[in-house]
Structures are given as structure tokens and as C-alpha cells.
């Protein structure tokens, strides 16, 4: 009986710098050629030798399970060490864990993705999926806001998506100096301009908690029902198994009941401080 806290080993085949504090790694299993199946929105626990383990969302294409892709922001002790990882290094992987974006529930209606900062990474698998099965959805909207032009994640991919005629892709930054020809303003500001049918829209929102709250309020103003909005929550996570208690949020464990929740379920708790 293998203890669920024992990681499997994977090695890094590619490492790419995204922004000054984010990078993407591509992984292959160290032994065997098993595929990594996951649902968009799920996460893994990544272990770096000796230093520890952190929860990182999976940001690759769910329909291309040959490799495992993570985009990591170096903000803590473990992720800062991860920034030094290079091709050929080994890491431990446990997962996939958690709930997923409602990509099936959204079928035959409009889909709006609203991402803030590095929150685009957990949404990317769902975006890949929806764009790959574009015919099953009506309008597709992606609104992305981040701090400054230099912080834009997946910039080339955003350009590619923006060039498509079948998706409304809008990017905005909070602050910009001269030379930036794109939009400046908060991501919620983009909502009023997007074209979608609120009553038939599924919203998938990922970013800092404050940003997700403001976004959900703005979408509610446009008439998107709370039950059709989904957000991805972040809390301290140690085991990802529902056994360590750290990620509790009211009655929910973010690791096993989330990280993706319907906004309707969390809305009252989000208004309370320090839950």
C-alpha cells in the first residue's frame, strides 16, 4: 500500500521564463512513459529536493497528456528554489488533485474567462479545451488583467487567441508607462464592453481573491447568475488529501472540495474577514 504522501518522480524537459517572476516547466515521468490525465482546474503538489512541497495548478493542455506543464510564480521559499530548476532536474509530483472548471456544464452557452495576474495559468487548460471544442460553445470571451505590460503571462499565446475571429480576447493592465498601446484599467472594466448573453453564460474566474470578488459582482450586475460563476480558491495546503486541515475554508477543504467552487456557494463567506 503506497502512502498518498509519496511523490512520483518527474524530470524537467523544458524550462521557459514567462515574466520576471514566473516560469513554466514541462515534465516527463522519470520511469515509464505513462500519460498524465487531469481535468482543467486541478493542481499537483510539486516537491523540490529537501526544501518542500507546494500546490501548483496544472497549466498545460488536458487533451495532450503526453507532458505535464506547470507555470510557477516564485513568491515563497520553495518556489524561489524552483526558479533555479533546469532541464534534467528531478522533482516529485503528487496529483492531480481537486475539482475542475465546469467545461461540460458550459456547453452550448456562452463562456467568459476572467483572469487576473498569474491566475491565467490555472484557467489555461480550460481555455485550451474550449477553443479545441469551439463548436460546442456559443460566444467565448477571455478578459485578462494584470499589473503592468511586463507581467502579462503567455503574451504570444494571447496574441494568437486574439487573432481568432471566434473569440473576444481583451487584455488590460493596471499601470502602464508610455509605449504601451493596449488597454489600461482594471479587468472588471472590460466586462461592460464584452458581448455575451448573461443568462446563458458560464463564467470561470481566477485571480487574487479581491479581484475575483469584484469580477463576480460586476458579472452579477450584468445579469450572470451566481450559480453559473466559478472561482478558484487558494489556501495553505500541506497534504492535498483532505487530511491535514490547513486549507479549510468554512466547511470546505480547498484541496478536495475545491479549488474550483461555484461562486454561489462561497459568496456569503467571501464577505467575512479571515475565515
Amino acid at each position: 500500500m503506497t502512502h498518498p504522501m509519496v511523490p512520483r518522480l518527474w524530470w524537467i524537459t523544458r524550462r521557459r521564463r514567462e515574466t520576471h517572476d514566473t516560469f513554466t516547466v514541462e515534465l516527463k515521468p522519470s520511469n515509464g512513459s505513462s500519460e498524465f490525465r487531469f481535468a482543467p482546474g486541478q493542481f499537483n503538489m510539486l516537491y523540490i529536493w529537501g526544501a518542500g512541497e507546494v500546490a501548483i495548478s496544472i497549466s498545460g493542455d488536458p487533451n495532450a497528456p503526453g507532458s505535464l506543464i506547470h507555470t510557477i510564480r516564485s513568491v515563497g521559499a520553495v518556489t524561489r528554489l524552483m526558479q533555479k530548476l533546469k532541464s534534467g532536474d528531478e522533482v516529485g509530483v503528487r496529483g492531480p488533485f481537486g475539482s475542475c472548471w465546469p467545461i461540460e456544464q458550459a456547453v452550448s452557452g456562452d463562456v467568459i474567462f476572467v483572469a487576473g495576474g498569474v491566475g491565467l495559468a490555472p484557467l489555461r487548460p480550460a481555455i485550451y479545451h474550449v477553443l479545441a471544442q469551439r463548436k460546442r460553445y456559443q460566444r467565448v470571451v477571455l478578459l485578462y488583467g494584470t499589473r503592468a505590460p511586463a507581467d502579462i503571462l503567455y503574451a504570444r499565446e494571447l496574441e494568437r487567441w486574439r487573432a481568432r475571429f471566434d473569440a473576444q480576447v481583451r487584455v488590460t493592465v493596471d499601470h502602464a508607462a508610455g509605449g504601451w498601446m493596449g488597454s489600461v484599467g482594471v479587468v472588471t472594466h472590460l466586462i461592460a464592453r464584452a458581448r455575451f448573453d448573461p443568462a446563458r453564460t458560464t463564467a470561470m474566474i481566477c485571480g487574487p481573491e479581491v479581484m475575483m470578488r469584484f469580477t463576480a459582482m460586476e458579472l452579477e450586475k450584468r445579469g450572470v447568475p451566481a450559480k453559473n460563476m466559478h472561482i478558484s480558491m487558494e489556501r495553505n495546503m500541506k497534504c492535498a488529501l483532505g487530511l491535514c486541515g490547513h486549507c479549510q475554508y468554512g466547511p470546505s477543504f480547498i484541496c478536495k472540495d475545491g479549488p474550483v467552487f461555484s461562486y454561489e456557494r462561497l459568496k456569503p463567506l467571501l464577505a467575512i474577514r479571515e475565515v
Partner: protein, 393 residues
């Protein structure tokens, strides 16, 4: 509640075991290969530790408990289970404070992980109270009935032999009657005992809950209990039930706490709470743990440990940028709301068994029965929203 390893006996005949034959129980368990663990005096308290023989039992001792107070006292009889509960619970054996999960070595940048050897030692617990059986059953739900199981916990559980005791005396902070977890032992044991002290006679009324329990009993000198002995044993439990040190009204307690996340009482208790986490350490159901990854100085060996953790630390809820629950108010609220309310949604059962340890071992005597009563007594009339949408049931 179920025992993990043995065929359960449904109808349980009662037998009598004389005090003079009691120590034999420990010998038999030793002979069967068990490490025997039970109550004994240490550092001014009755703790659970290894028993060499029946002589280690705290015969003639009792405890006096109240908010923030615990004192040992001599009894005027030789009862061996004549106390309530001490600072320890069986959690320390089933869900130990520190467990190594794996070791790994790295050579030429290749990592090899080896899972820790699985715990197989047989342990017998002597003197498990009804509240504690309920606590074990609650941890069973946490560790064994979710989407992921703790396989080490499962093995420890399967290798435990449980000798339960019906409480002969209620402690000053006990409220198992309110929580419906005692004082009478109902199931989840291999053997159960009721200690009866009469003027000249000291004996136990014994039931076996499993075939393994019956096998152990069979090896002991025993007789079928007569009606008088059975009645005496019943009276012991009845008397205990009538003398609970505390009480808690649990009517819609989940709704009550869900509606009162913003109650001013949380500020009041936070002003007293030292956030020391004692309550979480002594609680027999608190299961939270942290995971620590370590490496040696050469960087060739690494280990992963799980260790008890407490929601009273600021680290507990740390995400980059800071702690989610930075105030004492938020941390106390988390603990109590979890214990009494969210636990019900998570595991279908309350996380509190009414053992009173958190009251006794709180250095400032914070009493959750008092805190819930204060909230219930002063619930703002307009505040009927339940943030979890469960309505007011």
C-alpha cells in the same frame, strides 16, 4: 462506530471479573504480543503510557478538574479508573505527534524515495472512555472515510485492542451527556468494563464486544454476572451521567455558529485567548497536521514527516503575503466553529465529544460550553443569515 479488526458480537452477556484477577488481563495481553498502554501517574497527572503490570495503574487516585485547573487527589478507596480523563488521549498512539512518511536519497541528481516501514506493532489500550471511543470513531472518519486514506493510521487502528471503561465518576469539565457520547460505552471496543466498588468488594462487570475480546475474557477467571451485580454496574453509569461538570445546548448548533461569524463574543474571547494551541493538542479529535520536508547537510538524504499542527498558529493559514487568520479572534473562531459546526458538514458528525480537556487545559480557562451559551444568549435578532446557505433548521 465499529471495531476495525474483529467480528463484532451483537448480544453481549455480562460477566464479573474480581479486582484481584484484574492484573491478569494485562499479563494475558502481554502474552498475546500486545504493548499494553493505559493510565498511570506521571508529572502530577494521569497520563496514558506503557503499563508493565497492573501495579502501574493509578489505584486510589482521582482528579479534580475545572476551567484551567487539574489536580490529583487521593481517593478514599482503591478504584483504578476513579478519575475522569487526563491531558492525553489515545490520539497520541493512533495519530502520533510525529510520523516519518518516507526517506529519500539523491545520487547523481537521481532521487530515490523509500516509503517508511509500516507500523504493525500491536497495542492494547486499557481504560478507554466512551467519549474517547467516539473520538476514535471521529478520527476514523477523517483518516479512513474520505477520498484519500492514511494507510499508516489504518494499520495502527487494525492493530489496536480496546479495553473500554464505563465512567464511574464525572469530571468537573465533562459534558458527554450533552454531546451524546457517554458516559456509557456502547460499541467500538473489544472488552468493556464497569468498575464497581462496594464496602468489601471491588469487581468489574465485563462485556466483550468482539470475538477477540471474548477470547481474552475466556482466559481470565470470570463468572456470569447476577442481577444485583448488573444493577450495581448500571447504577455506576447512571450516577456519572447525573453529575456532569458542564452542559452544552447543541440545538441547531451548526446554524447558530454559521449565523454568528460576526458575533461580538469572538472579540471577547480573543481578548482572553493566548492562542497557545493547548486545546488543539489535548483534543482527542483535532487531527490537523503539517508536513515537513527536511534534508541533511550534505544534501544526499531527505525525509518527509507529518507532525501535529494547530490552527492557533499564524503559520497554519499562511499563504504568500501573510496569514489568512492573523487575529486571535479569527483563529479561535476557526477552531470552535470547526469543532462544533463545520465538522458536521465535513464528516457528518460533531467534532466535539464533550471530554472537557480543552476547558481543563486552557491556561486561562476558556470554556467552549460558556462561549457557545454566550453566543446563543445574545444572538442579534436580525442576524439570521447562514453564510453556508443551510437555512435555519
Amino acid at each position: 462506530m465499529k471495531t476495525m479488526n474483529n467480528a463484532v458480537i451483537e448480544t453481549r452477556p455480562q460477566f464479573v471479573l474480581e479486582r484481584s484477577d484484574f492484573n491478569r488481563l494485562i499479563e494475558i495481553l502481554h502474552e498475546k504480543g500486545y504493548q499494553v498502554l493505559g493510565p498511570r501517574l506521571r508529572d502530577g497527572a494521569i497520563v496514558y503510557d506503557e503499563l508493565e503490570s497492573g501495579g502501574d495503574l493509578p489505584a486510589g487516585w482521582t482528579d479534580e478538574q475545572d476551567g484551567g485547573t487539574y489536580r490529583l487527589k487521593k481517593r478514599n478507596d482503591e478504584a483504578i479508573f476513579g478519575y475522569a480523563v487526563g491531558p492525553h488521549s489515545w490520539k497520541k498512539f493512533l495519530h502520533p505527534p510525529q510520523v516519518r512518511l518516507w526517506k529519500a536519497r539523491r545520487k547523481d541528481l537521481k532521487i530515490e524515495v523509500a516509503q517508511e516501514e509500516q507500523p504493525v506493532s500491536k497495542k492494547a489500550f486499557i481504560g478507554v472512555r466512551s467519549c474517547e471511543l467516539h473520538a476514535i470513531a471521529i478520527q476514523d472518519r477523517v483518516f479512513l472515510q474520505g477520498p484519500y486514506q492514511d494507510p499508516f493510521y489504518k494499520l495502527r487502528r487494525q492493530n489496536a485492542f480496546i479495553v473500554a471503561v464505563n465512567c464511574g465518576q464525572a469530571g468537573g469539565t465533562c459534558f458527554c451527556v450533552s454531546m451524546r457520547t457517554g458516559p456509557k460505552v456502547t460499541d467500538g471496543f473489544d472488552l468493556s468494563l464497569t468498575e464497581v466498588l462496594e464496602d468489601v468488594r471491588h469487581y468489574f462487570v465485563v462485556e466483550s464486544g468482539t470475538e477477540l475480546g471474548a477470547e481474552v475474557l475466556a482466559a481470565l477467571p470470570h463468572n456470569a454476572a447476577n442481577e444485583k451485580e448488573k444493577t450495581s454496574a448500571e447504577e455506576v453509569v447512571k450516577n456519572t451521567a447525573a453529575h456532569m461538570g458542564r452542559a452544552m445546548d447543541i440545538t441547531d448548533i451548526k446554524g447558530l455558529l454559521y449565523r454568528n461569524y460576526e458575533h461580538p463574543r469572538w472579540e471577547n474571547v480573543a481578548a482572553r485567548c493566548l492562542t497557545c494551541g493547548n486545546c488543539t493538542m489535548v483534543c482527542p479529535t483535532c487531527f490537523c497536521m503539517t508536513v515537513e520536508d527536511t534534508t541533511d547537510l550534505e544534501g544526499e538524504h531527505a525525509e518527509r514527516w507529518q507532525k501535529w499542527d494547530s490552527c492557533f498558529t499564524t503559520d497554519f493559514s499562511y499563504i504568500h503575503g501573510g496569514s489568512v487568520r492573523s487575529t486571535a479572534k479569527a483563529r479561535y473562531r476557526q477552531w470552535m466553529t470547526h469543532k462544533l459546526a463545520t465538522w458536521i458538514d465535513q464528516f457528518g458528525i460533531s467534532g466535539c465529544v464533550g471530554c472537557g480537556r480543552c476547558i481543563t487545559w486552557c491556561p486561562v480557562g476558556i470554556d467552549l460550553t460558556e462561549e457557545t451559551a454566550a453566543i446563543r444568549g445574545s444572538e442579534a435578532p436580525g442576524r439570521k443569515e447562514d453564510p453556508h446557505g443551510n437555512g435555519n433548521t
